[in-house]
Symmetry: D2
Subunit: 339 residues, 4 copies
């Protein structure tokens, strides 16, 4: 009863086609502070979309899709604004794959008795609720996919592609990042794949198949992303939050160098973040600092200091309506790999 009343109002994903943010972004460019930074992020993103030689890497960290941004990210793929995704496991598995299975996130409260939620099997992300029993189903769906695969080492990309095939087969109607990426040959990398619901599913799989089982070789992830970098003339990175995805996407420049390919820094780089450079952590480190590492060129870089739900819909609505994506050819980097 009470449980049902807490899991009632679903999170609805914003549709960036339903409003036109262009006049807002234009006006913000003539203001100051973060409004102007937001404009510059948009400006550089549109520049990336115009630059036919540029492969765009989107990095995702933070609870973005559970917060109503799933449609935005799916649309970025649908409308050819992104060529590679690097993400945390929570976003791709616990949030996107979870919803692809038909489950939902719920609007909750950030000040609440967490002991009571515990008893009710409700998990909380700030002001969002999740049915914990449904999350267990999500874990098991991953285990089931692993059970059906040849027993060998996979990159996270390969495994996520299989998850895409699973969704395509069983839940083809949904609006899902995994599905959209699968259909458009967009590779998705999750460098810390087992740190998610996928990890739970895969240890379950491995425990029941102790000798021969699916393993996830994270080294392979780095090799594959490096191959994509090598196969691209130019690259740009669109970072939402920081963490491992930000670091991993930047590292690939160094990795290419080590593997003997000519080194080209990321030509474009934008980031939405609330992290601060003053703690010395990577999440808040400036893109200028990344230049010292030879990772990011500073000609076209900009950070905007904001929680992502406030500004990502504006940036993508602006890009959608300006339409630079229309003439862009699909990169289909997934096809680089036989598997």
């Amino acid at each position: 009863m009470e449980r049902r009343s807490l899991l009632r109002e679903t999170i609805e994903h914003i549709d960036i086609r339903s409003f036109d943010a262009r006049p807002i972004i234009d006006a913000y460019g003539k203001m100051a502070f973060q409004a102007r930074n937001l404009h510059k992020v948009s400006h550089i993103f549109n520049k990336m979309l115009h630059d036919e030689s540029c492969s765009i890497i989107l990095t995702l960290a933070g609870s973005l899709l559970s917060a109503g941004l799933k449609g935005v990210v799916a649309d970025m793929i649908r409308y050819n604004m992104v060529d590679v995704v690097v993400s945390t496991g929570a976003i791709i598995v616990d949030q996107d794959f979870f919803e692809a299975l038909g489950y939902r996130h719920y609007r909750g409260d950030s000040i609440v008795d967490d002991h009571r939620l515990r008893e009710l099997h409700i998990d909380r992300i700030y002001d969002t609720y999740i049915d914990e029993d449904e999350l267990r189903e999500c874990d098991l769906a991953v285990a089931k996919i692993a059970d059906g695969l040849p027993k060998r080492s996979y990159s996270s990309r390969e495994f996520i592609k299989e998850m895409g095939a699973f969704v395509q087969k069983h839940y083809p109607e949904g609006n899902s990042v995994i599905l959209e990426a699968y259909q458009n040959d967009i590779p998705i990398f999750v460098p810390a794949f087992s740190d998610s619901s996928a990890g739970f599913g895969l240890i379950f799989h491995q425990q029941r198949n102790p000798d021969l089982h699916v393993a996830i070789d994270s080294v392979r992830d780095l090799r594959e992303l490096t191959e994509i970098k090598a196969a691209s003339q130019q690259t740009g990175i669109f970072m939402i939050g920081g963490g491992v995805p930000k670091n991993f996407a930047q590292d690939v420049v160094v990795a290419a160098d080590i593997l003997g390919n000519e080194q080209r820094m990321h030509k474009y780089a934008v980031q939405i973040t609330v992290a601060d450079e003053r703690d010395g952590g990577l999440s808040g480190s400036t893109l200028r600092e990344a230049c010292s590492w030879g990772k990011v060129d500073t000609a076209f870089e900009q950070m905007v200091w904001s929680e992502a739900t406030l500004v990502l819909p504006l940036i993508i609505s602006d890009a959608y309506h300006r339409g630079s994506w229309k003439g862009r050819s699909r990169k289909r980097h997934q096809k680089l790999f036989s598997a």
Copy 2:
């Protein structure tokens, strides 16, 4: 030469009538995190506007008007969305009155050689430049106003009203918060009035008139705002940033109690802020905490964590287009005072 090239691109003030933020605010209400908080701030603000019994107090802190928000605040007054303003001196004098005199702010860079700017008489606010010589003219205009007034103690409100009369007379064509407030009988309070360009003008005035001169009695500010509170059935506060204006507008509830009036907490309270409650400071203190002080009721309160330029235009564009202000009668609290 170089100086001119740095003072070339002016800050342009965003026009909240030129786009309709309603679909964005609506969609944000079904998401999570700060998007949902932003929606709730908008929702409560529209509720305030609907509530005919409610006087709305706007508090301003941070370099808001130099950043391109002057038009938004002026429109809030123009379209009857605010009945009292409590502000820092920098906003009302250094930024609004300064522009009312015909001067402008300029788009600059946040990473720059400040020694060079010093030599060029250019003052910097993050990514914004100001011509320091023009700022000196602004100081002197304040001194000139003081020179022309009867020599006695004034509240900041009284003096700012005189600044409004001065602008009305000499610069009636501009888009100015002071002018708009003057024309609509909106009182403006600046509790730390001398901590601004006005302070520079007034010490200049006092130095040349050592015996008889204009003084600013800040106690009178508190008394007058308390009288307005007492004359209002209900009150709501819309806080942008924290600082003295936030504290002062909340204190008035306690002040009314001390002066023997029946105590009514602020019925509505919203705040845009990036401050954090974890330092124990007032700017980031929660509105729930203010309830313990008997200042703010918690039925209708919400904070949104964002730098103001990103979200204020959305909130006010939403309120403008929903039109609750249209049926609202002008409170004209300025008329409470003979002076």
Copy 3:
């Protein structure tokens, strides 16, 4: 009963003589990030103390004294580490004068039912409780002091000096910033004086003395601080938090210029703050930015990013034990003013 149980554990003020922070500060200087910034703040502060030509201005914002830092600030005055104080009203009146009257602050909880506190007349500052009835007594003590004074305009400094005389007379045994400043001729300025318990006391006084009463002329504050600046060879500012005190103490350089005195920037400047420059506000604005305004020289400036309770005791314990204050002559700037 319940009320008594909530107001039981008092805040105790840390004694910086009871431990020696020098080895910590020394070691931090060879590390990175905020540890190294903390070391540099200490280093510059010790340099200020060594520089006999330098008057040191301490600015205070945030709920510092209620948090257990009263002893630290009182010791800074006692051991001749500060020559002028610029503060918020809450710190000097609601916290210091309040405790000088014999009242105390109490350790509380930051997650609590604020409605219940409201009913119990307990005010909350993050994790600290105050007896609201005692705070009313504090307001009335201010009114009583005003009642006993000649009826004219005062600077906040003059009035606070009278508060010091009151404490000296009635509560000479306490450990109080106001008392220590009174005894050592240290002027204290509160530019937004009425935005505090003093404001409540003074409106009470003015209401009962409508024609002839004490008024607080904030313009006079700026004039007087400017005179002190002019009378000092060099100046250094030690800023805890930002807000009006930070701005006011920096403004004085510009004010001196306007009054025709030769302009000398603050030679030394350090700040403890958690504010961020990215919102364009003054509290987080860099000291390099202040250089563009001609306010702060950049040769000796440093900010450390920390909540103040964590680091101020370390800085002052270090300075106390290094002993540079021992040979320093008292500036006694209070004596500049006849009143």
Copy 4:
């Protein structure tokens, strides 16, 4: 020449035995805000050390060891204050293993021309410099270790144990977290192992050994950490920063549940962080929120809001001098695994 002048002042690691933080921590417990939170973190940590049934998991994120905290973390292992480490790759490989090879970090400047650093092969972390050519040597040392191992899948823990053996053999004299852990049978997990200098070394290894090579199965990491959890009566987590290590260490409770073991939440949990819960991300999520997930009990949990270099030395100096570690038996969880 210029390069040498920039790489001159080395970062020195603070020695927590060289000062006694107990009086500071004691005094902070009677104050408010973050001082009191710091005290509570210390208090709970000492409680963990006293509780013989408790295995302590240390999680590390942010550039901690390059900032001068290597000695603190090594001492935590040396003095038996930690039983398991979960870390980012940068900390364990780029920083600790890097210094174990004899290289050093250098004190630099946070405001600098990053293009010039790029040309000089100097990498920057906020105010710290690294010789990029030395970092390449570190990558290659990892490749060399991999070259010498049987070609199969490893958990990151297994591989890091081999790195410990390598350091023990070739660089036994250094002060290193990897070495100290190796000698005391402390397992170290790096869930995103390839997102580091180790990744560069391993892709180099795999490229030259395309058919048979070392792979890192991150699923195995989760299984192994879950086994440790199952073998422990109680667990406590000491989190420095957030990111994947925080999430991974908390996930293990859920993982144990899925593998059919009785579920026990982490009994103790403390975190040092500057992240904010208001962005909904995991790094700043409250430990109360973690209770809703069934991961952390709330009886003994506390967060302190500070950059880590400021407070970690105080916490560990306090614990070292209180001496609860002296009677504690070594858990030696490494021995759970044959490999």
